[in-house]
């Protein structure tokens, strides 16, 4: 087990390195020159000399590997550079937006896990009954409905029928819980609904699988009450793939964040990435994607470790 953990930890480094390199290259390949953007404006007049000067200022005239090296060195010291678009340090821009996205992601995950696991289990235990069908239909429906459409319908419904508009500014929950709630509740629903559907389905299918296992049948034959059997054995072993799913779906969650933050115009990290890509704001895109990758890798690592803990085949390797 220990070697497993160590191996996994060590493997993070090349992964992140690779991810950073990929991002770096992609951003340089996209057509669009940030220097031109900065100088261009709506009624652009492009002075070649000014263009060169700006590019020099931004360090864009260095060869790619040098730029990459400089950037990496900065990252190790937690310096992600300065946004080419706003002129503020990337870290600052990020920290402003992080609380909102973090809260949205965590709440959505929490809510969906709390909903999906019990429902998934019920559906599996009562397979092919109307309960099962209902839960399946709802969860499949949830997967099928585009999240931005849910967001659109939410806004539509709220605006037209209740004349209600969401608060325009983010207030952290410890400052004003009610304002925070009223701003976040609908985005959380929009992101979480999908996520809950995915996890319900997965829970159901893995519990179903487990319920067919021989040793479950054995336990059943021993005469324990059905509920104990299901909860103790099925849950423990069904947790495995579900936890894995939470890890892999986390990335999908980020995608959901992007779209939801766009629909509800929340000033979060998701929307920031889209804006930064549009503006060719390399430092921001690199930093954000790198950090997202980092977070994701950590989450996956934790998931893998939990997986390994529960799977005797790996644990005792």
């Amino acid at each position: 087990m220990r070697t497993y953990i160590l191996k996994r930890l060590l493997l993070i480094v090349p992964t992140l390195f690779g991810a950073a390199a990929v991002v770096f290259v992609i951003m340089r390949v996209i057509p669009g020159d940030v220097a031109l953007l900065i100088l261009g404006g709506d009624s652009g007049q492009v002075d070649q000399k000014q263009l060169t000067a700006v590019r020099q200022q931004l360090g864009l005239d260095q060869p790619l590997p040098v730029q990459f090296g400089t950037w990496l060195w900065g990252v190790l010291r937690f310096d992600f550079g300065t946004s080419l678009w706003t002129g503020q340090p990337v870290i600052e821009e990020l920290l402003i937006r992080l609380p909102l996205s973090l809260e949205l992601a965590l709440l959505a995950t929490l809510v969906s896990v709390l909903i999906s696991i019990p429902f998934g289990m019920i559906a599996a235990v009562r397979q092919d009954t109307w309960v099962d069908y209902l839960i399946r239909v709802i969860s499949i429906g949830g997967l099928a409905i585009p999240s931005f459409w849910v967001g659109i319908l939410c806004i539509l419904f709220l605006v037209i029928y209740f004349g209600w508009g969401p608060p325009l500014e983010y207030t952290p929950p410890w400052v004003d819980p009610w304002a925070n709630f009223s701003q976040m509740v609908w985005p959380v629903v929009t992101v979480g609904y999908r996520y809950a559907a995915v996890t319900t389905r997965m829970t159901r299918s893995t519990v179903l699988e487990v319920l067919r296992e021989d040793y479950i049948r054995t336990a059943w034959a021993k005469g324990l009450r059905e509920r104990v059997v299901v909860i103790r054995h099925a849950l423990k072993n069904a947790m495995l793939p579900v936890i894995t799913l939470i890890g892999t779906e986390f990335a999908f969650l980020i995608g959901g964040l992007v779209v939801t933050e766009t629909v509800f115009t929340l000033n979060g990290v998701g929307r920031f990435v889209v804006d930064a890509v549009a503006h060719r704001d390399y430092p921001v895109v690199q930093a954000l994607v790198f950090l997202i990758a980092f977070g994701f890798v950590i989450v996956n690592l934790l998931v893998d470790l939990t997986y390994a803990w529960f799977d005797p085949r790996i644990r005792y390797r």
Binding site: T15, A19, V23, A144, I152, V277, N300, R313
Partner: protein, 299 residues
Amino acid sequence: MATTTLTHVRASVPLAPRLTIGQEVVKFIRVKPLGAAGALIILAMMVVGAFSEVLAPYDPYHADYGLQFARPSVDHWFGTDEFGRDLMSRIIYGARIALFVGFTASFAGCTLGALLGVVSAYAGGRVDLFLERLMDILLAFPQLILALAIASILGPAVQNVVIAISIPIIPRAARVVRSTALSVKENVYVEAVQALGASRRRIVLQHIVPNVTAPYIIMLTAQLGGAILAEAALSYLGLGSAEPTPSWGLMLSGSALSYAEKAPWIAVFPGIAISLGVFGFNLFGDSLRDALDPKLRKG
């Protein structure tokens, strides 16, 4: 001793009588009604997409300026949009785009991913390590963000959307297939077979591939719905199909909400179309998974 055939290892289960295709279908409908419903939806969508020219009452690009924002009526079953274009015709043609993107992207992504997964699992060692690293790197990017970045490079166009969506699918398919292949590899049967001297190729073909086929097909049908959704999301964000293409996601972008009070059908019907289509794929895929998983077959 000559090579022992392994026939005696194959489970000898009394075979059920062979059914005709028709009887299989009826059985499927009876046993898995939800799946059958899903299949029906998919079929309907494919028919609509294939025969758009015949089914659509109007040219999806034709704008009737006197009839902007027309309510659903006998002439225009789903009403018209902000340009006076018939919404139903646009939705019908939209099926074609959704299906094209969905099938192509998920098929390409899943197949490539499955290949990589099998190779990775079976080759083991350094190949496995390298491929795993590569997949991990790709997996480090959230699906939409990666698709977004790729779509930005390539520009908004249908073929670019396909590429942008299929790439994030590859590592995900690879991961699933690899873990299944791994578990097969470590299964007692296979170890026994290996001990008896069966060739690698035989193991792969006779044991791994059949066991991997089920998750592959499941993954495929699962990703189909996702691919259609991804196309809608990218078009919504302005990175997918461009106007005046009748893409469902594009129809929902920005202005749909602005016109929603005046003409709610603009925001409603394309969303229903997307949801219904993906719903069909998911229902079918779900039941397919149930049916294909040998451990879950009843009796």
